[in-house]
């Protein structure tokens, strides 16, 4: 059973910050979609006296393009992302990750800000956002700052957020049309599944060579991670089968997974290779001119 709480529902960011200020010394929690928080309250891991609900702050629920940047309010839901034309054209890997997250019910509640702030190593939206080199706009009653998503996580459930600070928005440079990406995940089942492992990649090919590439993994370390060693290896190279195989080998050394109730350390390590290889091969197959594709 849930313990009764005082429920606060601000409608603007200013009001939200005032409420946070007001409850500074109280036991409060910020409620986004609630798909993680409410479960933890039910399990009595969290027992707040106050809930500050963000769902009526309209400013936080916007998807916008601002001067070649994609700007996503923290309260944008997975369902909203999936239905966004702008994102399906420019951030397909984020859309793909949202499509594989939870169930329709969860996707209509779960928010991008919540998924990030929850800091689960298996949070599905984080690897694509890392691959898109996203940054976070953080705000507290006393200051605002922008940080790279990659520097946000400290460990499972742990972030650099101050106690009175929250994520206001997520932003990244709008990918150019010639960028390509992939998102792959393995779970215990085909839907409604927490990832055993996920991988996202975003790259720019120039004359058949990778001008740059960003690769990120979920559920293979204590936080979602960028695979910098793999990126460094691939930069400037053609994605030939031999190069892809070598990159996949490096990936195995990059990750540091654990065994838990969903999978094992060794399986996750192997899959970090397999999924990266499949992701890259998929891109090459899609990039090949018609007729060149081997069937």
């Amino acid at each position: 059973m849930l313990k009764p709480v005082d429920y606060l529902s601000p409608t603007t960011i200013d009001e939200l910050l005032r409420l946070i200020e007001l409850h500074r010394d109280k036991d409060y929690k910020v409620l986004a979609g609630g798909t993680d928080l409410i479960v933890r309250m039910k399990e009595k891991i969290e027992k707040p006296d106050f809930l500050i609900d963000l769902s009526h702050v309209e400013e936080l629920a916007r998807i916008e393009e601002r001067a070649n940047m994609i700007y996503l309010g923290a309260m944008v839901t997975c369902a909203h992302i999936i239905s966004s034309k702008l994102l399906s054209q420019s951030a397909a890997i984020l859309v793909a990750a949202c499509q594989r997250l939870g169930s329709p019910q969860i996707r209509s509640r779960a928010t991008l800000g919540g998924n990030i702030a929850n800091a689960s190593p298996a949070g599905d939206t984080v690897p694509p956002l890392l691959a898109l080199d996203a940054s976070l706009e953080l705000q507290s009653p006393s200051r605002s700052r922008t940080v790279a998503l990659e520097s946000f996580f400290r460990g499972p459930g742990e972030t650099i957020l101050d106690p009175d600070e929250l994520i206001i928005a997520i932003q990244f440079s709008k990918p150019t049309p010639d960028e390509k990406g992939f998102f792959l995940k393995l779970g215990q089942r085909s839907a409604m599944s927490i990832s055993k492992i996920s991988v996202a990649g975003q790259l720019h090919l120039n004359m058949g060579r990778t001008a740059w590439i960003r690769i990120a993994y979920g559920a293979v370390a204590s936080t979602p991670i960028r695979a910098h060693a793999v990126e460094d290896f691939l930069r400037g190279k053609s994605l030939t089968p031999a190069i892809i195989t070598e990159a996949a080998e490096i990936a195995q050394q990059t990750v540091s997974p654990i065994t838990d109730i969903r999978s094992t350390e060794s399986y996750r390590r192997k899959m970090s290779s397999i999924l990266l290889r499949r992701g890259l091969e998929g891109l090459m197959a899609a990039a090949a001119p018609p007729g060149a594709r081997s069937s």
Binding site: M1, R189, S190, A191, S193, Y267, M271
Partner: protein, 752 residues
């Protein structure tokens, strides 16, 4: 009964619309005035002595009406279908984390929960018995005073040593199965009410057998069973787990002590840790055959982990042994089983009832034998297939219908089986395609020496409609419409002209437990007798009243000069104070042999299942593509219902093969809800899931029916594992076959 109007037709379930609309009220949904909330304090340790229980602080909490411990149990402080070794409320010891130590009733659910936290129990923890093998060692801590062996059963036929000397090929393999959760939708919930004036205690709580609940409650409360009413239908799913008592005795005790209606609804987590699961078993199988594929000898040894209490652990072990040889003629067998107490939760009845485990082991062994002998797997099965009037592999006469041969022939001739090698070419490494087959023989009914019967009465109402009084419950399987179809056939009337009772001990005769796939067969027999008796009664009364010989025909009484509609006859009878009714009582036939403890059975359903899988050899992921289920359930009273059982059973069995496993660590559950215990979704179900029904007409049932509910979730598991082998040449002998396990095995075998 060759020409039928109702039997064999896909008539819509009478409970379908209200369930689809969400209108059905399950026992957990009921609400009464002045209702209190009950909660159960579960054990803090999987194995511990109880030194002291102090409820004083809890009792003083405002809003708490009563706090009960073992001292408040008026009768026998124990329950259990076979032997009552499970305490209602523990007094000196707890044996698993689901053990109940105290009960609370309070004005609100949150007060009741708070009150639980104020009960102080001092424990002296004991070593946890985790390994069933070690549990049998003389140095093992004792779960029960008399030792950790619940039951040892040995069955044999011929001379197994001789049999193996006659065999050209002998295969030996160890298998193991996991602890498996039923995952019914409705957690245990209901309400107890005590009426002081009449002395009647009513318990509304979904379960598989209201009439046995009534007796178990009466025994624990030292109460007159006639003054205990149990209403246990409809049930939001059970799959065997609600055959045993769950919360019924708690409800009765709390209602008695508070004089108020008391409601309990278990959370998923509490339900998960407290109710019985499917037994994990270790099975050693040795099978011998001649070069031409004649099965000669079978030796099976089973070690079954029954957990903390007996419940149905003994009968489950016995059915695993009886089912182990499958539907085959084997001249020499030796089957030995042991069921052992541990602190690993608690196991009991679960769809398949032991045959699930032994069929998995036997059907993979057979597949290996077929490969070894270079015989097609279906041909090997056909070569040894059991027929009616054969002696079984445990040496008893099978005098009832046997349709397994026909199911195998349909499997052999199916597109899925015939063209399997052609379809393999559609896949390229690392993706592989394979097809597997398996068959099963499922014992129906409770077996030799166990009371197994059904009573039914049918009354003519004053408006000319019929009231069919029977006691079986509706559990989601759709038996109620089948009862009406069978009755309509005999009474020659529309289904709409009938009502029926279900699962209420005050409304009908006892029609037996809904278990062992048996309600259609037993109730069908009893209602046939009741309907026939009622028709005679109608004709006699009509003849007396009219003064000429009257015959019943299509809801009319027809004589040489007159026709009377049934509703007129009903009015006449009513005005004279006559209740026209027919009663039927049927006792299950039994085997010629008696091996004790419910063995053997005498009536069997059969199934052959073919499954195709697509295996990703790099990720170890298996997708079940197509499934063909070919059950022999006797006459299919409602073919749509049979298909429903097959489709659901296939998904459940697929998940047993590939996905689900209850994880325990030192007697504590690591998986206790559907977030950690992962069930398949619609997206995981096979792409096609087809059913072809074989109807071997059963001579001991007037409609030819046998039973249906269990087999489709049994053979599918080994069929899938055999398909995985067909795809990639790797065998796994312990389920579930997770991608982690399969990939490790693929890599291990490549290294050799």
């Amino acid at each position: 009964m060759s020409q039928t109007r109702f039997v064999g037709k896909p008539i819509a379930r009478i409970d379908a619309l209200e369930k689809a609309l969400g209108k059905t009220r399950f026992m957990s949904d009921l609400v009464f005035p002045n209702m209190l909330w009950g909660k159960v304090l579960r054990a803090a340790y999987p194995h511990a002595r109880i030194c002291r229980i102090d409820t004083s602080r809890s009792e003083q909490l405002p809003g708490v009406r009563c706090v009960l411990t073992h001292r408040h149990v008026m009768g026998l402080n124990g329950f259990g279908i076979v032997k009552p070794d499970q305490p209602v409320l523990c007094h000196d010891k707890v044996r698993y984390v689901g053990d109940a130590v105290a009960l609370v009733a309070a004005e609100t659910e949150s007060i009741a929960e708070e009150a639980l936290g104020l009960i102080q129990v001092d424990y002296d923890p004991l070593p946890v018995v985790e390994d069933p093998e070690e549990a049998l060692s003389e140095y093992a801590p004792k779960v029960h005073e008399q030792g950790n062996l619940l039951l040892r059963t040995k069955l044999q036929k011929g001379d197994v040593k001789q049999g193996f000397t006659e065999a050209d090929v002998t295969l030996e393999q160890r298998y193991s199965t996991q602890l498996f959760e039923h995952a019914f939708l409705e957690t245990e919930g209901g309400i107890g009410i005590y009426d002081e004036e009449s002395g009647v205690i009513t318990v509304y709580c979904g379960s598989q057998y209201a009439f046995r609940d009534q007796l178990q409650i009466a025994r624990a409360l030292d109460w007159d069973p006639k003054k205990i009413r149990v209403c246990s239908s409809p049930v939001g799913g059970a799959f065997g787990a609600k055959d045993e008592i769950t919360i019924q005795i708690y409800l009765a005790l709390l209602a008695y002590y508070t004089r108020c209606p008391v409601k309990i609804v278990l959370s998923r987590e509490e339900s998960f840790i407290s109710h019985v699961k499917r037994h994990p078993m270790r099975l050693d199988v040795r099978l011998g055959a001649t070069k031409v594929g004649e099965l000669k000898a079978l030796d099976v040894r089973i070690l079954s982990d029954t957990g903390a209490y007996a419940s149905l652990g003994g009968p489950v072990l016995n059915l695993a042994l009886e089912g182990a040889p499958g539907p085959y003629r084997i001249p020499h067998t030796h089957l030995l089983g042991r069921a052992v107490y541990t602190n690993n939760g608690m196991s009991g009845a679960c769809r398949g009832f032991g045959a699930t485990q032994s069929c998995f082991a036997m059907e993979i062994t057979l597949d290996m034998m077929a490969e070894q002998l270079r015989i097609d797997p279906i041909e090997l099965r056909l070569k040894n297939v059991l027929r009616r009037n054969d002696l079984s592999a445990i040496d008893h006469l099978i005098f009832t219908s046997v349709g397994i041969e026909e199911t195998l022939k349909i499997a052999r001739d199916s597109e899925l089986w015939r063209t399997r090698d052609i379809r393999k070419r559609d896949f390229q490494p690392p993706i592989f395609y394979g097809v597997g087959v398996a068959s099963e023989m499922q014992a129906l009914g409770l077996g030799k020496g166990i009371p197994d019967f059904a009573g039914v009465s049918i009354e003519l109402d004053r408006d000319g409609s019929f009231l069919l009084r029977q006691g079986c419950i509706e559990i989601g399987q759709g038996n109620l419409v089948c009862f009406l179809q069978m009755a309509a056939e005999v009474l020659q009337c529309d289904i709409e002209r009938m009502r029926l009772t279900h699962g209420d001990t005050f409304a009908s005769p006892d029609s037996g437990s809904v278990t062992a796939s048996k309600s259609i067969y037993l109730v069908g027999n009893a209602l046939y007798l009741a309907a026939k008796t009622l028709l005679q009664e109608l004709e006699r009364f009509a003849s007396e009243t009219i003064g000429e010989p009257m015959r019943y025909q299509e809801c009319e009484l027809v004589g040489p000069s007159r026709r009377i509609p049934l509703h007129e006859l009903a009015q006449t009878a009513h005005s004279q104070g006559r209740q026209l009714k027919g009663e039927g009582h049927f006792v299950h036939p039994t085997s010629d042999k008696d091996y004790g403890d419910g063995l053997p059975h005498c009536l069997y359903s059969f199934i052959t299942q073919v499954a195709s899988v697509v295996v990703d050899a790099e990720t170890g992921m298996v997708k079940v593509h197509d499934v063909l289920s070919i059950p022999d359930c006797g006459r299919a009273i409602n073919p749509q219902g049979v298909e429903g059982q097959c489709e659901g059973g296939v998904v459940m069995g697929m998940s047993y093969a590939l996905l689900e496993k209850v994880e325990l660590q030192h007697g504590r559950f690591l998986t206790d809800n559907f977030s950690t215990y992962t069930l398949p979704t619609a997206a995981d179900a096979p792409l096609t899931n087809k059913t072809v029904i074989v109807e071997s007409m059963e001579p001991t049932n007037p409609f030819g029916a046998k039973g249906m509910a269990e087999p489709p979730n049994v053979a599918i598991c080994p069929a899938i594992l055999n398909a995985i082998y067909d795809a990639i040449g790797v065998r796994i002998f312990d389920i579930p076959v997770t991608p982690e396990k399969l990939l490790a095995e693929i890599e291990r075998q490549r290294k050799i």
